[in-house]
Amino acid sequence: MKLVTAIIKPHKFDDVKDALKEAGVQGLTVEEVKGFGRQGGHTEVYRGAEYTVDLLPKIRIEVVVDDSDAERIAEVIVDAARTGKIGDGKVWVTTVDRVVRIRTGERDLDAI
């Protein structure tokens, strides 16, 4: 099994979620996160005092899939999340050793 993790722009989340559903993904976990990459932050001005905001809001999506689906799902996310502008985010895939569905005790592929 693989864990596909994606950091995307918040306003692309609905597109990515819909694309993943269409691709057969049964469930995912989402978190609002902050970070910086090449995009950099923005500045704000209060009574003439300028502040830089370095960390930008992003969405982190995590979805566990069968080994054979990992490449395809990663591509689905990349296609749905891309705007072509700096700051679109990243997707990476890692190996997962064990999955258990808490309600039934089912394991691994049966549990995802």
Binding site: E44, Y46, G48, A49, E50
Partner: protein, 417 residues
């Protein structure tokens, strides 16, 4: 000779008193939005607590020190505990003495509260309570006496319709002294300390603007044409100051900001306060517009000189108050108010401007020096400043054991007592 009560005048002053009282919660929100979220309740509490402590002190002794007798420097003890402050008409006025005293009470509440913007985020609550309690009796009441109670500035002939010197220069100078005494907030000016909720600040600005109708038009002490003139002047000065501030910051920093609009309006309200019943509408617009621009630049002074006037009480109230007091020396117009004077532009020469200068500088110097002494003594006895750890945690938790914003996060609270 006992004058008679007028129901119209009395009705208006009853309303104006309530309007001015409402400015203090407005000020609490105006400042509260500008502090970091962890210090919001600390700021609100300091302002609300002024409504508690100042009102009681005013009845017990503050009013008497301000309005008892006609000595040059301070009032007397004739009205301690509101003795002889009755329901009959005030001498020379058509409203009850006790209503005049109540109206003045609301000024004594908000003036020390103004200082909280300079001491934000780092003053111990107990020290604050002692400070304003002493300050209102030792600084505010004497200055109110000088200007309005028949003291030396009153005799000099300097003008202050609703408190440019008594309220704004006075509180602004005290704010400067306290900001210097307390020292900078931890991390200032390097660390970002942006306002946590500008919507609160804008709501507060709206309440202040609304309440200022009572502050300035109520200071006519009657429901008459002069009150109407003061009300109009107050509103258009705030409007023009907002325009001045926003246009200047737009040119200077690139954006018209909501905080700039709010700050400009308050700067205009401050500047028109001494002038409201002595000038016409167009001079009011000029006074407001100039005050908006001048105060925008004045708030940068703290970075040059290194004092942490956290929410710009000096830049807005001291400088705004001085701006209004001095511009009154140019624009004062006896065709608006017979009891006033003519300024430089209305044929009165430099006489009034000189008096305005003397009155303003004396109030500034007196308030600054006496505040420093009060602050120093309190610091030695009880300590003014919270510990570094308490400053990090924020005043809400460290001083009041409360949190302003509680969204029921997972595992946030379990009851232990």
């Amino acid at each position: 000779m006992e004058s008679a009560l007028d129901t119209g005048d009395t009705a208006w002053l009853l309303v104006a008193t309530a309007l001015v009282l409402f400015m203090t919660p407005g000020l609490a929100l105006f400042y509260g939005g500008m502090v970091r979220a962890k210090n919001l309740l600390g700021m609100l509490m300091q302002n609300f607590f002024a409504m508690g402590l100042m009102a009681v002190l005013w009845v017990l002794i503050g009013y008497s020190l301000a309005f008892g007798g006609t000595g040059a420097l301070v009032g007397n003890l004739d009205f301690v505990g509101f003795r002889d402050v009755g329901m009959g008409a005030m001498e020379g006025l058509t409203i009850p003495v006790i209503l005049f005293a109540a109206f003045q009470m609301t000024f004594a509440i908000i003036t020390p509260a103004l200082i909280t913007g300079a001491t934000a985020d780092r003053m111990r609550f107990g020290a604050y309570a002692l400070f304003i309690g002493i300050w209102v009796l030792v600084v505010y009441s004497p200055v109110a006496h000088w200007v309005w109670g028949g003291g030396w500035i009153f005799d000099l002939g300097a003008l202050d319709f609703a408190g440019g010197a008594v309220v704004h220069i006075n509180a602004g100078a005290a704010a400067l002294a306290m900001a210097i005494l307390l020292g900078r907030r931890k991390g200032w000016p390097k660390e970002g300390m942006p306002p946590h909720s500008l919507p609160l600040t804008l709501v507060g600005t709206g309440i202040l603007w609304f309440g200022w109708a009572g502050f300035n038009a109520g200071s006519a002490l009657a429901a008459n044409g002069l009150a109407a003139q003061a009300l109009l002047n107050t509103f258009v000065a705030a409007s023009a100051a907002m325009l001045g501030w926003v246009l200047a910051e737009w040119a200077k920093d690139g954006h018209p900001t909501t905080l700039g609009a709010a700050s400009g309006a308050v700067a205009g309200l401050v500047a028109i306060t001494p002038c409201a019943g002595f000038v016409g509408a167009v001079p009011s617009i000029l006074i407001g517009f100039l005050a908006g621009i001048i105060c925008l630049f004045a708030i940068q002074l703290k970075y040059r000189f290194g004092y942490d006037d956290s929410l710009d009480v000096v830049g807005v109230h001291l400088v705004g108050g001085l701006t209004g007091a001095l511009l009154l020396g140019l624009f004062a117009d006896r065709s608006i108010n017979e009891a006033g004077a003519d300024g430089l532009f209305t044929g009165g020469g430099l006489d009034l401007l000189g008096k305005q200068f003397v009155a303003s500088i004396t109030v500034l110097g007196f308030s600054f020096v006496v505040t420093l002494v009060i602050g120093k003594v309190l610091d030695a006895i009880v300590g003014l400043r919270v510990s570094e750890e308490d400053e990090d945690r924020g005043l809400d938790l460290s001083q009041h054991a409360e949190t302003a914003y509680s969204f029921g996060e997972v595992g946030s609270m379990g009851r232990i007592g």
